[in-house]
Symmetry: none
Subunit: 189 residues, 4 copies
DNA sequence: TATGAATGAGAGTTCATTCAT
DNA sequence: GATGAATGAACTCTCATTCAT
């Protein structure tokens, strides 16, 4: 990526997270990136496009971080644990990206189009869960309900750890958190 | 509440949810509420204050809906189930309030002050959970982690039901959802 | 004058002097006068009319304060001294009226009509000055130039005394001031 | 000064003098200056700042016009006459600036800060007067009283000449006016 | 590429005035 | 007479975007 474009990206991310999309002006972004406003519009046709590109960048970052190779002979529990861990790690190591992601997702600002682009990159998760249900490891409930609830827990746990960052290095906390997560989705008894 | 004020409230709620805070103009709100712009500013000094007051209204609505009488001789499981159910019901019966609440909470738009007002009205939940841990019904983990995760599940389940409203009348779905919830927080084995 | 009307007058005078005509709202005036906005508009059709009426009130107050009986056998010096003294006294004893007058006169706010109403009540001054020139007591210069300069001195002296009110009780100051005044207009040598 | 800024300055000066500060809208100024409203706010953060900057510009213009070199061997009478003449000239040759100055000074619109900036540039006048008193040319009265009265005369004379511009070329009028001025402040007898 | 002065539609907000009570 | 909620035109100011350099 060009140097200027990256500087704009970083400044935008930072300002959007502290002030919100609308409260952040393109002039502010340009200033903090040490470029002229014209330069910003050279790289991004509109403010909306800047936000959309930032979103896609975030999504790719998340997917890359969470992705795992799925093969038949893996232990399902360990696989899930790995993904959970990678998800959590991504959130706490990429606070800026996480916060942007959250704001973006609960914002009516954004075109549906963007939200769907690259959606299929998360397909592997669905495949994984489908297999988990078949092997009777996961609860036998509607897959969307399962995914939704699982995501809900992970996200709220990231939030918890971002507020209390010292807990990240506490093994008991991480074990407890994972237990809350896995007990929810796994078949019991 | 005065009639005009209520009309403004309703119009604002509706527009904020479809368009977002910033994309909604005070002129639009006034128009949809069938009042003059000046009237809006007669009841709410600024747009920000309108949003803040809406938030407090939402919060009160939620707290009133979820609140239960806690007494010593209640069955803990039934109590939790009741609260979970009331929470879910509130979400699906008050879609407008729920969506506003969500947008507000992930928005840097709002003064911290507002967020803290009335916070203590949710105290009864903490008391309940504390007791649940003592009686060895709930997992023995940090209370904030527990509350956070539980909230995360409930919210994502409301979201799931709002997207597929027909599931609300499907008893299996509700049972499954509660199972995902309770297994997460309850002590197992 | 009706009681309410007078309260409005006083509040308006006070606010106009501290904040200016435009910066003062009718709501502020009504509030400070402890009446409803509607009441203000009951007594004065518009804000402009309130200002105009205030002006006429000020002018009458000034003219009444300055007026003297002119007869043929008066000592001209004493007469002038008396008028000068009354003018100065009016200014320092009616600070509110004086300040309003000043603001009004240098404001493009006001209709020319108002300014001319009651203008003729100051006619006696011109008569007096005309006679002063004839009797070779005053300088033989264009009467408008004379009046203008004399007014300029008096007004700036009122201003001086309003800023340093303690000087009002100092006889030397008053004598000096009058000397500056009379030497300017009187024929010398 | 930039071209656009100057056009805004001139348009503002003109409109403020004919309509007053508050009756003049920023839109009107921009229109008459043939720039966009945004441009006005590019050069002046607020309308208030535009007015303040105009004031400082006026003041500098006046001070530059009136300033004289003071040396020990000058004839005091001639010096005073020169200053008086320059002051009068400034007023009639810069009607716009003069009128703005007057409106500004009798307006509660303006921050005290502005009024004090550059105040000390008029110091040379006080020095001059002090010397005039020592050399027994001027009356031995409080210096503020003297300055105030002198200013009062000059300003009212400018006003007189602005209303009757043809008098400016009449030598008798100018001589008479100066006589009214100098007799007021000079020691007599 | 990079700049930043210039643009102008449109935002939030104000306030003199009205009128039903 | 007295009230003050309601009005909406008009204001100041913002900001995404353009374009000549």
């Amino acid at each position: 990526m060009q140097e200027k474009k990256e500087k704009i990206f970083k400044a935008a991310l930072n300002l959007f997270n502290t002030q919100g999309f609308d409260a952040t002006t393109t002039a502010q972004i340009a200033k903090q990136a040490h470029v002229a406003t014209g330069t910003l519009f050279h790289y991004f046709k509109t403010k909306k496009e800047l936000i959309n590109q930032l979103y896609l960048y975030c999504r790719d970052s998340l997917v890359d971080a969470v992705a795992v190779e799925i093969s038949d002979d893996q232990d399902f529990y360990l696989l899930i644990r790995k993904i959970w861990r990678q998800f959590i790690n991504w959130g706490i190591n990429n606070k800026d990206l996480y916060l942007f992601f959250r704001q973006f997702n609960s914002s009516p600002y954004i075109s549906r189009v963007t939200r769907e682009k690259g959606q299929n990159r998360l397909k592997f998760l669905e495949i994984l869960i489908e297999r988990g249900k078949e092997s009777r490891f996961l609860k036998d409930v509607d897959i969307d309900l399962l995914v939704n609830s699982a995501m809900g827990i992970i996200i709220s746990q990231i939030e918890y750890l971002l507020i209390q960052p010292e807990k990240v290095y506490n093994q008991k906390t991480l074990d407890d958190a994972f237990r809350l997560f896995i007990d929810s989705i796994k078949k019991i008894g």
